[in-house]
Subunit: 266 residues, 2 copies
């Protein structure tokens, strides 16, 4: 892994957040193996019910790890000692759906009106795939999976609606069943695939041309397998153009005290 | 089953609701086998975010099947043709936490301020137990399982807090593993047990004296197995004494168009 040599001492969520507070504001891929990392979306309170309802209706792309109530800054369930205003390595500030700033802490943007959503990210289920002997060529390279907007609509709630975004991984034919099984255990981090081997069913005409992330060549016999992607809630929230929205910067995740295994349903 | 002779023609959720609208306002146990039945909790909009958050934080006792937005009456996900004001066979009206009325329809209590929560009920996972060869002596008798308040607190949200309520079923020792497996598939209807064989760990001193429901005698070798119970969210909501809350009457459930199998995670 590209960053492993820098972060071998970062072996827990707490160690990760201490490093971040001490100024190590770099991407968190490979940090604290086995600990749950989360996507971050911070929204004004008057949008919180509709956004939580949107997540409830679309649990595969929008798996909720924790919601921190308006004005509160400690994720008491997933990382009680953390402060959400300082412990994400890099934040993005969006106003009316436009990116206006990228910052290292958000104290100056904070108000009692803000509700924080921590949403599951693919790192946890990628760990499950790797633990089950499934290679992921992008893992730890600094490159990203392929991601696609689909023709499948999410179920709307209030002002939130839009297409589901999926990530794609090439999986060897003889590992497809294992890939389904091992990710099914983790519905809180996107869970089972939404599609195996049929990109056209998702409205994807060319798997070599992703809408986001990087393109990957299959090996002979590889099957394209698609999982719901955490880009979905951010894209949907942004499209509603809230007056203020704060997110993590891509790859700069919030590292919790939860273990991947804590999220397994069986 | 006590009611089977009356309801053999009620074989779908839609048939159940048509019978109810036609005046058959009796308990729904045994109706439409294989269709998901739901607990109903209707609350004023200003409590909806906190109640949804409470459910998100306590998914085992409070599994959300669907939330119908303020003022809307059609459960577009679980039963699009239904009207939540007329299609539950019996409702209870609570004001400031006190039961004030029991009624057959709620049109006269309805307002655009009300948000409806449909929560998973134990019928679905009891079907799974029975399909797996596990006998449930109360099933279809008109009697109820044993239910207990526990010493385990739910995770609070806003004004909502209180102990988790559990249901208990005696399971033969050689069926305990199967009981865990078969209910684990259904996290949307309480899912896996919260405890096997150790009532003291839940603060339950005498399993022959339930707080709600009926007492049951074990057969030799039976193990007490505890599941989170849908009484929890109603008890918690009531304890917060909302100005108005509307629920189903116990046993008079909302019958959806969803099949139990639609809720299985694998």
């Amino acid at each position: 892994m590209a960053t492993t040599t820098d972060v071998t001492t970062i072996d827990t969520g707490m160690a990760a957040r201490e490093a971040i507070r001490a100024g190590r504001r770099i991407p968190t891929g490979g940090w604290a193996p086995g600990y749950v990392q989360a996507n971050v979306a911070i929204l004004p309170k008057d949008l919180a019910f509709d956004f939580l309802l949107f997540c409830q209706r679309n649990p595969k792309p929008c798996p909720v790890i924790e919601v921190i109530e308006a004005g509160k800054v400690h994720p008491v369930i997933s990382a009680p000692s953390a402060d959400i205003r300082t412990d994400v390595p890099r934040y993005r500030i969006w106003r009316d759906g436009e990116l206006t700033d990228e910052v290292e802490t958000i104290e100056e943007h904070w108000s009692d009106d803000l509700v924080t959503f921590l949403l599951g990210c693919s790192f946890s289920f990628e760990n499950a795939l790797i633990d089950n002997g499934i290679e992921l060529p992008h893992y730890g390279t600094g490159q990203n999976v392929s991601m696609f907007k689909t023709s499948v609509d999410t179920i709307p709630a209030g002002p939130f609606s839009g297409p589901m975004v999926v990530s794609m991984r090439w999986i060897p034919q003889n590992k497809v069943v294992r890939a389904v099984q091992s990710t099914s255990r983790f519905p809180a981090v996107h869970g089972a695939p939404v599609n195996v081997g049929d990109p056209a069913a998702l409205g994807i005409s060319d798997v070599s041309k992703p809408d986001f992330g990087d393109a990957w060549e299959p090996k002979p016999g590889d099957v394209p397998v698609f999982w719901a992607c955490g880009v979905t809630p951010q894209a949907v929230a942004m499209a509603s153009k809230p007056p203020l929205m704060i997110t993590h910067a891509p790859g700069y995740m919030f590292v919790t005290d939860l273990r991947d295994v804590d999220l397994a349903v069986f």
